[in-house]
């Protein structure tokens, strides 16, 4: 403030005559003019946007007014345009104070004229108290790196990368396998159109193949993630390819002379237990490839690589034949490099649930003809490619194939969730199997067929066929069931309650999806939070693509089971969000938290409780928020035990000054006053709509809007009670619905500390109350207030009340 005390202008607008119906505005105006600091007060009679502007510009120019308080209801659009236009006349947008009297309650019947008038005056005084402390703030621009790192080159990663490249951004694609495509590269068909996934990958690669902005790092893994949104630094570790990708032209002469053959399935996926099942898929898939081969699952980038551990040390045949001398068999050291990125996209996908854990249920791994559903995909893929691979019935009868749904899913000992795609995938596999083996008899053992959306059509289509039988119940498989190479299964059909005997040549277990090992490793090294099923988690409904760490976005099966089209959609959303961090600068609203180092005692509570992990200690040990990560929820401000943290434009001091006004109650001594801190997402909206709906909201309550219930500091509550306010209500989102993850949890956690503090002040702890209120619970808000006020009346006035 300095030498010149702020000069405040008050503009009262009452377009619907709501206020003038409740209070005498002329008398109020006279009172307002006497408030210290108020230099100008005007009652508007014309409610066009232009007249608002003129009413504001006039005192700005004539009376050197430097803050404006707008009283009455304004739409968000009006507020924005007025703030923008007044900025041109020299008033910083953060020097406007909006005090909506119509969203505060003035009681219905019993409230006296005097109480209403006093309350209105109190609210205006509160606005003035806050306005005096307003400071001009400027939006900040912070520079960004304009490239993105996409971790995982599955179908989601490819689509996200191509979306970013189309917008002209540099993309680094990091993949742990030798080629792109991920799990989709292993499938034989997409549902529902039954088209080939290879074609889908090719489509995704269309813009990537020709682009110079894409760098693909295969056989690579991230080893560390530093920095923040806009300026990440990701170090990656690349295993040697033994072939120089800049020189190799993909002619394939090396593969012709290579003497080593390795089974294809072994190469496709190496480190997951289900695929080490040599009994199953290994005996059925005869296809092999050379030790020097194109990348798998999908040959992009189109340069060869060598599996050095498989080839003999002294064989140099490929070296001799290569026309461009691209091969270097002595390449030993892993390549380490640092990638700069503005945003990280985690599309780490899923792993198949290890079916070997189901040995006791279904004998997986005991018999060669018990396979998993991904293995079935491979089998079907090979069958379409080569006519010599055929499924054989063990005796001369028709081929009988059994499909077990929910193998290891929806089970408390295995995966407790539903993987959501396996039912449709089984239907798809049966359709393809029947096109290859028209006489095959299929039996599906299921618990519930969950074919979402239009997949139901495929299910209905199959149900009407006579040689596909759906049995609700699960079979048991053990070695003694194996009679002459056939499996004889007994199962209770839970509809008829009768045992059903079936003979099966091949049993396919529809295993579920679990988070990928690569994704879990990345979560560990970057500290990203995971949900209880260990997938990446954001706010499930409102911003699923976010990962609770600003600038790191997730898409596809990294955040939960999805089918291919959902994965592609999610990657588009994630790419759009990533673009925000890939512009040359990010603008940051100046309403971020600031730490007062003179007050801070370095207790690290803010570092611990920030839901977005944005605090770091500076060299002196004081916490410093990372403004790009910060979502400005204010939980740090609420949690600070010495109230050293304040959000700009919503400072502790501003709030404290507002509360101080309430020292003199606007009601009679025996009537309780309640101060309500309402979360702007849920509770405040509910409170406003309660008043708009004409519900009887008691006059006793003064409502203050806060960004999150977690932003209310205990010191403020204690302040309010020591000033004689009878009760304090903190209302936020209900359990686990908080947009800032755990704001309301923090409130409840802190209420214990507060109880002790109030005890020493000889104030009853039940004067403070925290409640979860949903956006539509206006009725509950009112009944809750009434009950609370009744209770406070019984308790009697606050001992500190004047």
């Amino acid at each position: 403030m300095g030498l010149n005390p702020p000069k405040i202008g008050l503009i009262v607008s009452d377009p619907g005559d709501i206020l003038s119906g409740i209070i005498d505005l002329q008398a109020l105006k006279k009172k307002c003019e006497k408030i210290r600091g108020v230099e100008h007060c005007v009652l508007l009679t014309d409610f066009k946007s232009e007249s608002f502007l003129i009413a504001a510009q006039k005192p700005l120019a004539e009376k050197q007014i430097d803050r404006l308080i707008w009283i009455g209801r304004f739409t968000v659009k009006q507020k924005c345009t007025l703030e923008k236009k007044l900025e041109k006349s020299g008033l910083n947008p953060y020097l406007n104070e909006w005090s909506d009297l119509t969203s505060q309650s003035f009681g219905k019947q019993e409230a006296s004229e005097e109480a209403r008038f006093k309350k209105a005056l109190t609210l205006i005084k509160m606005a003035v108290a806050r306005a005096k402390l307003l400071e001009p703030l400027e939006t900040e621009e912070v520079p960004n790196s304009e490239s993105a790192v996409v971790i995982g080159a599955g179908i989601s990663g490819l689509h996200a990368a191509s979306a970013l490249i189309e917008r002209g951004k540099q993309v680094h694609l990091v993949e742990k396998e030798s080629g792109v495509g991920g799990k989709v590269g292993l499938l034989s068909r997409f549902f529902p159109l039954q088209c080939n996934p290879q074609c889908g990958i090719e489509y995704a690669l269309k813009s990537l193949r020709t682009s110079e902005k894409l760098t693909v790092h295969t056989l690579s893994k991230p080893t560390s993630v530093e920095g923040t949104a806009g300026n990440f630094s990701v170090s990656i570790n690349t295993r040697p390819h033994y072939v120089d990708s800049n020189l190799c032209n993909g002619c394939g002469k090396c593969a012709d002379v290579c003497p080593i053959e390795i089974p294809l399935w072994e190469n496709v996926i190496q480190d997951e237990p289900p695929f080490q099942n040599e009994m199953g898929i290994g005996t059925m898939l005869k296809e092999t490839q050379k030790a020097i081969h194109l990348p798998t699952p999908y040959p992009f980038p189109e340069t060869y690589l060598i599996e050095r551990d498989k080839c003999p040390a002294d064989c140099k045949k490929c070296l001799e034949v290569c026309p461009v001398e691209a091969i270097n068999l002595d390449e030993q050291i892993d390549l380490k490099q640092n990638l700069d990125a503005g945003a990280l996209l985690v599309t780490s996908g899923w792993d198949a649930y290890p079916l070997s854990k189901l040995r006791d249920y279904y004998g997986y791994g005991l018999l060669p003809n018990i396979i998993g559903n991904l293995e079935m995909e491979q089998l079907l893929l090979q069958m379409t490619k080569r006519s010599d691979i055929q499924l054989q019935a063990i005796d001369s009868g028709p081929l009988a194939v059994g499909f077990v749904q929910c193998a290891g899913s929806r089970n408390k000992d295995h995966l407790s969730y539903c993987s959501s795609v396996c039912c449709s995938a089984t239907i798809k596999q049966i359709k393809q199997l029947k096109s290859l083996h028209p006489g095959a008899k299929c039996t599906v053992f299921y618990q519930d067929m969950r074919c979402f959306g239009f997949d139901e059509d495929l299910y209905q289509e199959l149900k009407s066929e006579s040689d596909v039988l759906f049995v609700r119940g699960f079979p048991r498989v053990n070695e003694s069931d194996l009679i002459d190479g056939k499996m004889n299964l007994t199962v209770e059909d839970t509809f008829s309650g009768l045992p059903v005997n079936t003979e099966i040549d091949l049993l396919v277990l529809a295993g579920g999806m679990q988070p990928s090992s690569g994704g879990l490793e990345f979560a560990e090294l970057s500290g990203l939070p995971l949900n209880k099923h260990r997938f990446f988690t954001g706010h499930y409904q409102c911003y699923p693509e976010e990962s609770q760490r600003t600038g790191i976005l997730t898409a596809g099966c990294a955040r939960g089971p999805m089918n291919v089209s959902q994965s592609i959609e999610s990657s588009g959303k994630a790419a759009i969000k990533a673009l925000n961090f890939l512009e040359s600068t990010t603008s940051i609203a100046p309403t971020y938290p600031v730490v007062n180092e003179a007050k801070c005692d370095q207790c690290k509570r803010c570092i611990e409780d920030c839901p977005y992990d944005c605090y770091r200690q500076n060299e002196k040990g004081f916490p410093v928020p990372d403004l790009k990560k910060c979502r400005q929820c204010g939980n740090c401000m609420g949690v600070c035990p010495v109230s050293a943290i304040s959000m700009n434009h919503f400072t502790i001091k501003q709030l404290a000054n507002q509360i101080e006004i309430l020292e003199n109650s606007f009601l009679r001594h025996e009537e309780p006053t309640v101060l309500a801190f309402l979360c702007e997402n849920d509770a405040y909206v509910a409170a406003c709509s309660a008043i708009d709906q004409g519900l009887d909201v008691p006059i006793n309550v003064i409502q203050i809007k806060v960004p999150c219930a977690g932003a209310v500091n205990n010191a403020l509550i204690a302040d309010a009670l020591s000033l004689g306010i009878d009760g304090v209500l903190i209302a936020g989102c209900k359990d686990e619905q908080c947009h800032y993850v755990r704001g309301f949890d923090l409130v409840q956690k802190r209420s214990g500390d507060l109880g002790d503090k109030l005890g020493t002040m000889m104030i009853e702890p039940e004067r403070v109350r925290s409640e979860g209120i949903e956006i539509h619970e206006s009725d509950r808000y009112v009944s809750l207030l009434n009950e609370y006020i009744e209770k406070l009346t019984k308790l009697g006035p606050n001992p500190f009340k004047i």
Binding site: R410, N411, G473, F474, V491, T494, G497, P499
Partner: protein
């Protein structure tokens, strides 16, 4: 529905912690049961009777005499229902109510 239960039935439900309400009728217990095809009733059906509050039908089922208490059903249940314990308690319930 619970009001319709007799006192002894309520006692029984308490003894097994109402765990049979968790059952989703998937049929694992029956398929894995060593003796289910000797009887018209199966563990799944008996639990269904309990869910429908027909404890008399459940406790008088001939299946209970076949049950060997091998505990396989309790092991395989994806919902964690202790099926074998329910069978055990039903036998006792039947014994008490006959007396």
């Amino acid at each position: 529905m619970k009001e319709a239960l007799s006192k002894s039935a309520l006692e029984f439900n308490e003894q097994v912690n109402n765990s049979f309400y968790k059952c989703i009728q998937c049929g694992y217990c029956s398929s894995f049961c060593a003796v289910f095809f000797y009887s018209e009733d199966t563990p799944r059906k008996i639990i269904r009777y309990l869910q429908c509050n027909d404890i008399d039908k459940a406790s008088q089922s001939p299946f209970l005499r076949l049950c060997k208490q091998c505990l396989t059903c309790s092991q395989v249940c994806p919902q964690g229902v202790d099926v074998a314990k329910i069978m055990r308690r039903l036998v006792r319930h039947n014994f008490i109510s006959c007396r």
